[in-house]
């Protein structure tokens, strides 16, 4: 199993390295990096001093070396806005996003398993219709609009939920509901599909003929085999959750990494943006490894390197 995870690590590390290189190259592609780091209102003297201080007058290879040393030391420079270390700001914002994403994923997975299993167990039932409605919603509702309509309905009209902020459990409802649309819809469809094929498999018929109860057949026999495809999709969705987190955090004023990124962009604070993007890329890398490890635990066939 460890050899499997190690093998996957190399392939997952490639995107990470490309992101690192990409951020470096993008910052230099526009010609003058100072125009990227400094706000548009900076004076000529400020620009020169900044270029000198950060070594932008050095040859490209030296700059690349400095850049990688900086990344290894978690040193991305200081924020132009607050003067704080950019990586510290990113690390401070990170837990808020992580909490949000984790809760959302947990609820989405549980919800998808319940609705998906039910829909597969009783085709054409209410749950089946509900699951196709969910997947339709996931593909077609803009999350920012859902969030704003939710704020209008529950905060402005009814006044039961706060419009933004993080205090109290009530403040979590709208952000999580918004973030959940997509993962829940897609996952329900995947669980349903996998369960439909698992429930018609011979081992389920065998379990039934042994006299296993309906609930036991679903939870112990079918679901275990349906879990592997759902897990892969859940991993992709967790990566995609970053997309939603940016929007949701911007709307609800959630002090997470997504809001940090948008603020950094709107205030032209490249050092902070860089730190936030790289931190996100690293966490995606770790997530991919964790998913592969889970996958190997679930499915014995993956562990053995059968060449495909």
């Amino acid at each position: 199993m460890f050899s499997f995870v190690r093998r996957r690590m190399y392939t997952s590390a490639l995107p990470l390295i490309i992101v690192l290189l990409g951020v470096f190259l993008l910052a230099r592609l526009t010609g003058d990096p100072t125009s990227l780091y400094l706000p548009e209102s900076a004076t000529e003297a400020q620009r020169e001093a900044f270029a000198q201080k950060n070594g932008f007058d050095q040859p490209m290879l030296t700059q690349l070396g400095d850049y990688f040393t900086g990344v290894l030391h978690l040193d991305f420079g200081t924020s132009l806005r607050t003067g704080e270390s950019a990586s510290e700001m990113a690390f401070r914002a990170f837990p808020a996003t992580l909490q949000l994403a984790f809760t959302t994923m947990l609820l989405a997975i549980v919800g998808a398993i319940v609705i998906g299993c039910w829909a597969a167990y009783r085709p054409n039932s209410l749950a089946d219709r509900f699951s196709s409605l969910l997947s339709m919603t996931a593909a077609s509702i803009p999350d920012f609009w859902f969030a704003i309509t939710g704020v209008w309905l529950f905060a402005v009209l009814l006044g039961v939920l706060p419009t933004s902020g993080t205090d109290g459990p009530l403040a979590w409802i709208l952000p999580i509901a918004t973030l959940m649309i997509r993962p829940l819809g897609v996952l329900t469809q995947v669980v349903r599909g996998a369960m439909v094929s698992a429930l018609s498999a011979p081992y389920v018929r065998l379990a039934r003929s042994k006299g296993a109860g309906d609930l036991r057949v679903v939870t112990h026999h079918a679901l275990r085999n349906a879990a592997a495809p759902a897990l892969t999709v859940a991993g992709d969705l967790a990566v995609g959750l970053i997309n939603g987190a940016v929007v949701v955090e911007a709307i609800f004023g959630w002090p997470g990494i997504g809001k940090l990124m948008i603020d950094a962009i709107l205030q032209r604070d490249f050092a902070v943006l860089q730190a936030a993007v790289l931190l996100t890329a690293v966490s995606i890398f770790v997530l991919n490894i964790a998913i592969d490890a889970c996958y190997a635990l679930l499915d014995a066939r993956v562990r053995e390197p059968a060449r495909v």
Partner: protein, 327 residues
Amino acid sequence: MSTQLDLVPVKPTTAIVGAASTRKSSRAVWFRLLANDRVAACAAAILALVLLTALFGPILMGHVATSIDLDNSNQAPFTLAHGWANVLGTDPLGRSMLARLIVASRTTLSVAIPAVVISAVIGSLIGMWAGFYRGWRETLAMRVADVIMSFPSLLLAVVVLYVFSPSAANIVAVLALTRIPVYLRTARAESAELQSRLFVDAARTFGASATSIITRHVLPIVLPTLLTVATLDFCYVMLAESSLSFLGIGIQPPDVSWGLMVAQGRTYLNSAWWLSFFPGLAIVITTVSATILAAWARIATDPGQRWRLTVPQKRLSRFAKTTKALS
């Protein structure tokens, strides 16, 4: 090997045979299939209406959308008291919401359609090419697709649009780049599967070049699947553009897109809900239509399931009931 050929699932290979002579009647068949499914026909009609609005609406309503009338600011919708153009209400500057929605539809579609077309063409070509040759070309293409896919698309857009100024062309480029892997993977899988088929072998034996095998034998079979994927992807790209515009790094004022209108209306949520509700509704209606049409296209292009669309809906549900009762 010869027994295996029979086991390969049936694909619309007939589409190639005599395509020129039967094209007219096959188009009529498509129309009949569409007309039979009322929901899909509605979806297609809505999409056509949106497209026509985007094409001709700005010419007719362009001057209304920019005429400022501060006496009529933030008028509530659903009343004809302020003229028919203000039936969906007015914005804080007294401009007609309806006219602004119509003008915005052009911006939204002029980002979404080019992005889908560019990514579909590039992705499918590379995918078919990789699937045709296999070997290192395939590995390379798939690795690149993996790299792009493993990075959240919005994050990529955010970084690129920070470095390069957020213009419509740059948004199209970023969205196209992030969606290429979707087509690449689909086209590669189908193309690789086709390489073991008899007609491709025959074409090879006759000495057909790679280009002609890809365009004449692979493309016609892969095309229906790719079109379905593209219809579904249209939703994704539209939502992505709207998100970017909403966040302030997409379409920039004074241009207007549906996503930007939602963002602009957000400040007035307390007093004028229609400012951000209607543009969002326009997005939802368009994307729902595209999703329904994609679902229909998936059934219509699958010869194994196409019969479902030839049976009138009422009889189909009765048929479904009987099978349920039998099982």
